[in-house]
């Protein structure tokens, strides 16, 4: 019962536990301004979940934006130091169009970024943290992981640029019929397209999938990296899935998405984004992910049956000190108490305690 008094709302609880998780791994909290110059986003629109940005003119006439994303700000502010790695975490409000309602919303975005001279250890750690984050949100979760190098390797074998861009689009849609059609239209790239097509419906254990990818002649370096990361993750809540493609201009290497049961879209999205770093003039590598709390709304809503433990109802005969003393007494048992003379219609309390004429009821 004692937990109910301090029970945080779903979102607050998850943000809180994610933050402690990241702190325990040495990720330093990063706090930033709510505004950013619009230029930062204008040049990297397809990195953002939605291209719509709320802008306003600052006092000096420059065009500013309410932050639609956190990663770009972190990359911008990153100072390179050779051989070292900077690990940061954040929980920030961002402003963008919500996928479910189609209107602007304030959304809590929580996440981590690992920038610098990253290698295997960091890749494994970040993927592991993504999986742990999912577990904090729900008992039933799934992390899907892929490697851009594998997809790009096969895409690179397609000679026609038009076929290549179409293939990419169909991969994202998992559109088998359209890929089949593409195979018949571009027989010279048939082999590569066939391989891309078989990436879409990979099934079996992760080991089997990696074995099959090796037989298919997937890029060895990428596959070794993928295999190593997969080996440190909980295989029951992990799937190798190559439809994770969004933002090929930014991501390279490992990319992943997280799903939890009861939410129809991904709640975690991330990966290695050296290409974004390069676009923003940084030599270092980087990997990170974000947890989108707006997607979780569907999971968190409507869980509370009660909004109060005890409604303490008193009458005119009861003295003020008596009411407050009694309330404090109940609170000590770990329950939440609200004092009132009449119970509002919408209030649902677990229990009602009456105080009449100074006596305990």
């Amino acid at each position: 019962m004692s937990e109910s008094l301090f029970k945080l709302k779903g979102e607050e609880r998850i943000v809180h536990s994610l933050r402690s998780l990241y702190t325990s791994y040495g990720y330093v909290k990063f706090k930033m301004s709510r505004f950013e110059e619009y230029d930062l986003y204008a040049g990297n629109k397809d990195f953002l979940v939605s291209g719509n940005i709320i802008t306003f003119t600052d006092t000096d006439g420059s065009l500013m934006a309410l932050k639609p994303d956190v990663t770009l700000s972190i990359v911008k502010g990153f100072r390179e130091e050779e051989g070292s790695v900077s690990k940061v975490s954040y929980d920030e409000k961002v402003y963008r169009v919500s996928s479910s309602s189609g209107v602007f919303k304030e959304i809590t975005q929580v996440g981590i970024e690992c920038l610098g001279d990253i290698e295997g250890v960091e890749l494994g750690e970040v993927a592991l943290l993504a999986q742990k984050s999912l577990l904090l949100i729900s008992d039933e979760s799934m992390l899907t992981i892929s490697h851009m190098g594998v997809t790009e390797g096969f895409l690179g074998m397609i000679s026609s640029p038009k076929a290549k861009s179409e293939a990419l689009k169909y991969m994202e849609e998992k559109n088998i019929s359209a890929l089949n059609k593409l195979i018949s239209e571009y027989p010279e790239s048939g082999d590569a397209l066939e391989k891309l097509r078989s990436l879409l419906l990979l099934s079996g254990s992760n080991d089997e999938i990696i074995k099959r990818l090796r037989e298919m002649g997937a890029d060895k370096k990428s596959l070794d990296e993928l295999e190593e990361v997969v080996s440190v993750l909980d295989s029951d809540a992990l799937r190798i899935d190559f439809s994770v493609l969004g933002g090929m201009n930014y991501y390279n290497g490992i990319t992943f998405r997280g799903y939890v049961k009861g939410v129809p879209e991904s709640v975690i999205s991330g990966g290695q984004y050296d290409k974004l770093m390069a676009r923003m003039g940084k030599k270092a590598k980087a990997i990170g992910f974000a947890v989108y709390m707006d997607a979780l709304e569907k999971l968190l809503e409507g869980r509370d049956e009660f909004n109060l433990d005890v409604a303490l109802v008193y009458d005119d005969e009861t003295s003020m000190s008596e009411v407050l003393r009694k309330a404090e007494e109940i609170r000590k048992s770990g329950r939440s108490v609200s004092t009132m003379k009449k119970i509002p219609q919408k209030l649902k309390s677990r229990e009602v305690v009456y105080l009449r004429g100074g006596e305990n009821a």
């Binding site: 849609e173 559109n175 899935d241 799903y259 939890v260 939410v263 129809p264 991904s266």
Partner: protein
């Protein structure tokens, strides 16, 4: 349990037959009744009948794991779902049609009556044409007849309705057919069942064509 949204009507019945041969039988589905949800615990499947244009909503929001919807609806509403297979059923075309004597004057804004605002807008912006969209919910053919619009953007199956109203197709925007769509999260959580269905449906489509 695999949740399947079937579009009400003949197409839905055909789709059910394909799912049944993929091993997800539930004979109750085809019985005349007012029930909307049918479940077969043995085969682990639950079917429900919904308005065809709503299938993609059920799938996007995860109430259904898999469903069948027209390409027109998927494109018009840009649903965030996997569009895995082309069933090659319910074939028709998204077209621009106009009165037989219509002469297009590229120097003017063209008035377009349609149910499919986004498809029309995307098409005309791809050819760099300024348009005035008139959104209608039905009897689109009436708009050019009464002179309310210059052209219409609509689905054309046989072209009979167009002909009877003195209209003709002047441009085909894209072919339309029924697509198998899958919710992105369900794909990960129910992978085995979904891949089983997809593989079987693909085989069935190939055999028929």
């Amino acid at each position: 349990m695999l949740n399947v949204a079937l579009p009400k009507g003949r197409l839905g019945e055909k789709v059910y037959a394909m799912f049944a041969s993929a091993g997800f039988e539930c004979p109750e589905v085809l019985m005349e009744s007012r029930k909307l949800v049918f479940e077969n615990e043995e085969t682990g499947v639950r079917y429900f009948w919904v308005k065809p244009s709503d299938v993609s909503v059920y799938v996007e929001r995860g109430a259904a794991d898999i469903g069948v919807a027209g390409k027109d609806i998927i494109d018009e509403y840009k649903r965030d779902v996997y569009e895995i297979l082309d069933l090659k059923k319910g074939k028709c075309r998204m077209c621009v049609a106009a009165k037989k004597d219509f002469v297009d004057n590229p120097g003017t804004t063209i008035r377009v009556a349609t149910k499919f605002r986004n498809i029309a807008r995307t098409y005309y912006s791809s050819i760099g044409r300024d348009i005035d969209i008139i959104h209608l919910n039905g009897s689109i053919e009436l708009a050019p007849v009464l002179g309310m619009s210059d052209v219409i953007v609509d689905i054309v199956e046989t072209g009979t309705t167009l002909k009877e109203n003195g209209l003709e197709v002047i441009e085909t925007i894209m072919p339309i057919s029924a697509r198998v769509i899958v919710n992105k999260a369900s794909f990960e959580f129910k992978k085995n069942d979904i891949i089983k269905v997809i593989n079987s449906l693909e085989k069935q489509i190939e055999e028929k064509n």
